[in-house]
């Protein structure tokens, strides 16, 4: 099928199938569909939209069809995104399974694991959380201590994770565990999957400065994990962990680009107006808005360029650290500007007009962007070491 035909058909299909409620601008977090066993759809429209998109594999457009994906090429996927944006269609499903675990399983999972887990991610049936960080292992992730002992046909897992986003809502966890305490720290780690309802798993929410969107402490107390849930080889989990992180970082970083976010110029125009020449009336704010917009363009263009280069076989690798760093720092700047624009309106925390402090909460939440998935300092360290090859980095 030619790309033009694909665009035409996609446009028609979206026009017929995207319910009206899913074309309203998203308010961000509260409107995201995360899926999972216990998911309560906010509306019938949200449910229908997920089912229809999942049936075409378009919740994960570029995954192979046999695993619940749409089998689209990069160009087709871009068209799909463009056509969705054109009618203001929301994303039908977001999840850690889509952003992180899926790509890792496609690369490192065995056939049975792919068949078992990927379609459920694609259909939004199972919601995943990420068990990486521990109280003593943050930036220095490889020093993690949660241990998994080989008990014949299962691993016995004991330990604690922290900052596990949505652990209390997730159905399954992908988890880094130490399987060889004697080996050097990077060589004794394995990558395992297990059900959060397994006996011995418990979670305790931690409140964020933004109030909502809790993340958790997660405890493992004699948790039995079947051997077949080991992904890749024993003690080679670090490779998978890093691969997954590059996907996590790229998607967190891309969040700083323009696509699908609040519009800074629109907010500024609404708040401060324009002078007779069409310029934003507040020169100080205008300056900030311009810088943020141009950097947003630059980031978007860089994401696209890296994709094109990856496709052409021109190595990209640790460059996801740049996207993560630039994207998250930009996003923080953008939200500082949103807050400046909003003035005292932006300070409202409990009020009808602010929908209980949506902006203030988003602003606070962006502060985590440069921490989660590896801090900005860690990203700069990766660039210094792996790209610039500076000594001792």
């Amino acid at each position: 099928m030619s790309l033009d035909t694909f665009r035409q058909e996609t446009r028609e299909w979206l026009a017929q199938n995207c319910p009206p409620g899913m074309r309203k601008p998203s308010r961000g977090e509260p409107d995201i569909c995360w899926g999972g066993r216990n998911w309560k759809f906010e509306s019938e429209d949200q449910k229908i939209w997920l089912e229809r998109m999942a049936a075409r594999g378009w919740t994960v457009p570029m995954w192979p069809k046999e695993y619940g994906g749409g089998g689209l090429s990069r160009e087709e996927e871009k068209i799909l995104r463009e056509e969705m944006r054109a009618i203001g269609a929301r994303s039908p499903l977001e999840s850690f399974g889509i952003w992180m675990l899926g790509p890792a399983l496609l690369q490192f999972g065995n056939e049975a694991q792919k068949k078992e887990h990927l379609p459920k991610i694609a259909r939004g049936e199972i919601r995943w959380c990420q068990g990486y960080s521990e109280p003593g292992a943050g930036s220095d992730l490889a020093s993690l201590q949660t241990k998994a002992e080989d008990k014949g046909d299962y691993f016995l897992v004991n330990g604690q994770k922290i900052w596990t986003s949505y652990a209390d809502k997730a159905d399954w966890i992908f988890c880094l565990v130490r399987t060889d305490p004697a080996a050097p720290k990077h060589s004794g780690i394995s990558f395992v999957l297990f059900d959060m309802t397994t006996p011995g798993v418990s979670t305790k929410p931690i409140l964020l400065i933004s109030g909502k969107s809790p993340f958790c402490e997660t405890f493992f107390d004699d948790v039995k994990v079947p051997k077949e849930n080991l992904v890749g080889n024993l003690n080679e989990g670090w490779t998978i962990a890093k691969y997954l992180l590059t996907h996590e970082r790229a998607s967190i970083g891309a969040g700083g680009s323009l696509a699908g976010l609040r519009s800074l110029p629109a907010a500024a125009i609404k708040a401060v107006g324009r002078d007779q020449n069409g310029r934003l009336a507040d020169a100080f704010i205008r300056n900030d808005v311009i810088r943020a917009e141009i950097d947003g363009y630059a980031l978007l263009a860089t994401v696209e360029r890296y994709k094109a280069e990856a496709k052409a076989g021109q190595g990209v690798g640790s460059k996801s650290a740049i996207l993560k760093y630039a994207g998250t720092e930009l996003n923080k700047r953008r939200y500082e500007t949103f807050m400046t624009i909003a003035g005292s309106d932006g300070l409202e925390w409990e009020s009808e007009r602010s929908e209980d402090g949506t902006l203030a909460r988003e602003w606070l939440r962006t502060k985590a962007n440069s921490i989660e998935g590896g801090t900005s300092e860690v990203m700069l360290g990766i660039v210094a070491k792996q790209i610039l090859k500076l000594p001792g980095a």
Partner: protein, 378 residues
């Protein structure tokens, strides 16, 4: 967005090889120290012709190689890396763009092959004050019969001191500040009434102040439609702006690479200074900024190749970012070289000087920030 294909990678690699061989930074020093009368090497310019660069934006029928703007940018970037001085941007980029787009058949036939063959240098005279502002064009062109009489002053005319021809932006109607009423003329630099003063810049590159006193221009010397030259001028300038942004990417990239090399070589406190995290993180930050700039330059050139009339936004984004990044890269370079960075002996200072000039040329960061915003109605 695109990845470079094999042809373009080859173009870039051959440009790098050619320039490091024929026009390394030491060549700029030679031009400076000997106060070379042209401020560039005519041999080098002929070499660029053999490489197909003089005709890089010219169609094959007129002797060009027609590599497009992406190709142009690759060459400009490499020129930035070695600080190569040549009339490339004025002649092969801007004059060629203006002529190809709006020249009469006669003008095209005469000048496009001449540019391709490196037989003509053509400068663009736009700026009049200390800041780039094409709309403010005040130089007057008064119609008398079928001809025009030009009066006024131009400044910062890059390559104006060696130009055979000058494309001059003039006002045939209206007041300075208006887009309407601007016209372009292509005139012989030896025409009576033209006086040219050579200016050697801080970057050892050359431009000219040019005085027009009752200079005669025939009706056939007009480039494009009289009174409606603004869009043509914009397209011409945008090609130049994308080119200079690419050069800035090269200037910033090269001074950064030299800095990183120094971090791996200089020792203090018994360590390589590159082991200090304070410097590592600043270096990594610059690397990230260079990556962002590279994407903007490329997307501006892709946009120019697609449709020059709608590329203004991307071009301004690129030129804005280029100004910010080149300033960061050269300032940090001097700082990280310590006292050595302040000496004329090493090249870093030359990069800093060129960076300053490129920031001003064809609109500084503020100019392009404003354009970018206005194009998006804020």
């Amino acid at each position: 967005m695109i990845a470079l294909d094999e042809d373009r990678i080859m173009l870039r690699d051959s440009a790098r090889e050619f320039l490091t061989d024929k026009s390394p930074v030491s060549e700029l020093r030679r031009l400076r120290d000997t106060r070379d009368q042209d401020g560039f090497s005519r041999d080098l310019w002929r070499g660029m012709k053999d490489m197909g660069w003089t005709g890089i934006l010219i169609d094959e029928a007129n002797g060009g190689s027609d590599f497009g703007h992406v190709g142009m940018a690759l060459v400009c970037e490499e020129m930035g890396r070695t600080l190569a001085a040549s009339p490339f941007l004025s002649t092969a980029v801007m004059a060629a763009t203006a002529l190809r787009r709006s020249g009469s058949e006669e003008q095209k036939k005469k000048w496009l092959p001449a540019i391709s063959e490196a037989k003509a240098i053509i400068a663009l005279a736009v700026d009049e004050g200390r800041k780039h502002n094409p709309e403010a064009t005040a130089l007057k062109a008064e119609m008398s019969g079928n001809a025009f009489r030009l009066n006024g002053d131009k400044s910062f005319v890059v390559d104006g001191h060696v130009a055979d021809q000058i494309i001059v932006a003039a006002r045939t109607e209206g007041d300075p500040g208006k887009k309407e009423g601007i016209s372009l003329f292509l005139i012989d630099s030896k025409s009576p009434g033209i006086s040219i003063e050579r200016v050697i810049g801080v970057d050892s590159r050359n431009n000219a102040r040019i005085k027009f006193e009752n200079v005669h221009a025939a009706g056939t010397d007009a480039l494009g439609e009289v009174g409606k030259g603004y869009q043509l001028l914009e397209n011409t300038l945008n090609a130049g702006r994308a080119g200079i942004a690419a050069e800035m990417l090269g200037v910033a990239g090269e001074s950064f690479d030299r800095t990183v090399a120094y971090l791996k070589e200089r020792k203090q406190f018994g360590k390589f200074i590159g082991e200090f995290q304070a410097l590592q993180h600043r270096a990594a930050h610059i690397f990230g900024e260079l990556e962002l700039l590279r994407s903007l330059v490329l997307s501006a050139c892709v946009a120019l190749d697609k449709n020059p009339d709608t590329a203004g936004l991307s071009v301004s984004a690129a030129k804005f970012k280029a100004a910010e990044v080149v300033k960061l890269a050269v300032s940090e370079a001097v700082q990280m070289f310590g006292g050595m960075g302040m000496t004329d002996e090493i090249d870093i200072g030359l990069f800093m000087k060129r960076a300053r000039a490129t920031q001003e040329f064809l609109g500084d960061a503020g100019f392009h920030a404003d354009r970018f915003a206005l194009a998006q109605k804020f």
